[in-house]
Amino acid sequence: MTIGLHQVLGTLASSLSAESLRLNVTASNLANAGNVGASEASTYRAKHPVFSELTQNAPKYANQPIGGVQVSDIINGDKPLEWRLEPNNPLADENGRVYITDVNPMEEMMDMIAAAREYQSGVESMSSIKNLILQTIQAMDR
């Protein structure tokens, strides 16, 4: 099965959608960057999207690259959280500790820049393919 130009648009669109989801997750992490929680279980955890390649499901062409990327999962970090002593905080547990969320603002900012750059790259490629399709259609106008 060949890849026609229209399908290429679909591939690039999947990239745009995945990068936009990545930006969304980054924004959510940044918004919760300073949060504290009452226990390890209830504190906000930094979320990370997991990207994977879209492959064909049909058994005859199984695992051939058919174009595109998908976010297959959004996982939470699982390192033990840091805590600080704040006995006056209403959220403090019986030891006076509050647990600090593990969002690293520097990492999130870099992630955001990378996602924005890839989004832009996808948009430019789409525009270029769109021009090719238009030219092909106009070539028949004779």
């Binding site: 099965m1 060949t2 890849i3 026609g4 130009l5 399908q7 290429v8 591939t11 690039l12 999947s14 990239s15 995945a18 997991v50 990207f51 994977s52 390649e53 005859k60 690259p65 058919i66 174009g67 595109g68 990327v69 990378a114 890839e118 790259s121 996808g122 490629s125 270029s128 393919i129 090719l132 030219q135 092909t136 070539a139 004779r142």
Partner: protein, 127 residues
């Protein structure tokens, strides 16, 4: 039966196919463990243009034009210029350059096909 547009038509189909591969690379630029792939255009074109008859070697093969041949070009891996922690081998600049090259190639072949077509129309109309 060979096409009236000759080599340019086959090159056009190949360019389309390659555009799909390259844009898959661009889309997966941050997927962990993804390896950048491409086809050897020159080799593929030689192979597609030299065989005039499609041989159905398996029961599932359908006999239509150059499309099936194009689909069977071997996908090669691109040699990475630098190593990344997530084992991804896509280099944005290289992929962009190849993408542009392919686009220009497509446009060139389209121009040839257009020229052939308009000559044909002239002959039909008798100008």
């Amino acid at each position: 039966m060979t096409s009236i547009f000759g080599l340019a038509e086959k090159a056009l189909t190949l360019c389309e196919h390659r555009a799909g591969i390259l844009s898959n690379n661009v889309a997966n630029a941050s997927t962990p463990n993804y390896k950048a792939r491409d086809i050897d255009f020159k080799q593929a074109l030689t192979q597609v243009s030299s065989s005039h008859r499609l041989v159905a070697t398996q029961p599932g093969h359908v006999q239509f034009a150059a499309q099936n041949q194009v689909a069977q070009q071997p996908l090669k891996y691109r040699v990475p210029s630098q190593h990344r922690m997530d084992k991804n081998t896509v280099d944005e600049e290289i992929e962009r350059k190849n993408f542009m090259e392919n686009t220009v190639n497509y446009q060139a072949n389209l121009t040839f096909v257009k020229a052939q077509y308009s000559q044909l129309m002239k002959a039909i109309r008798g100008d």
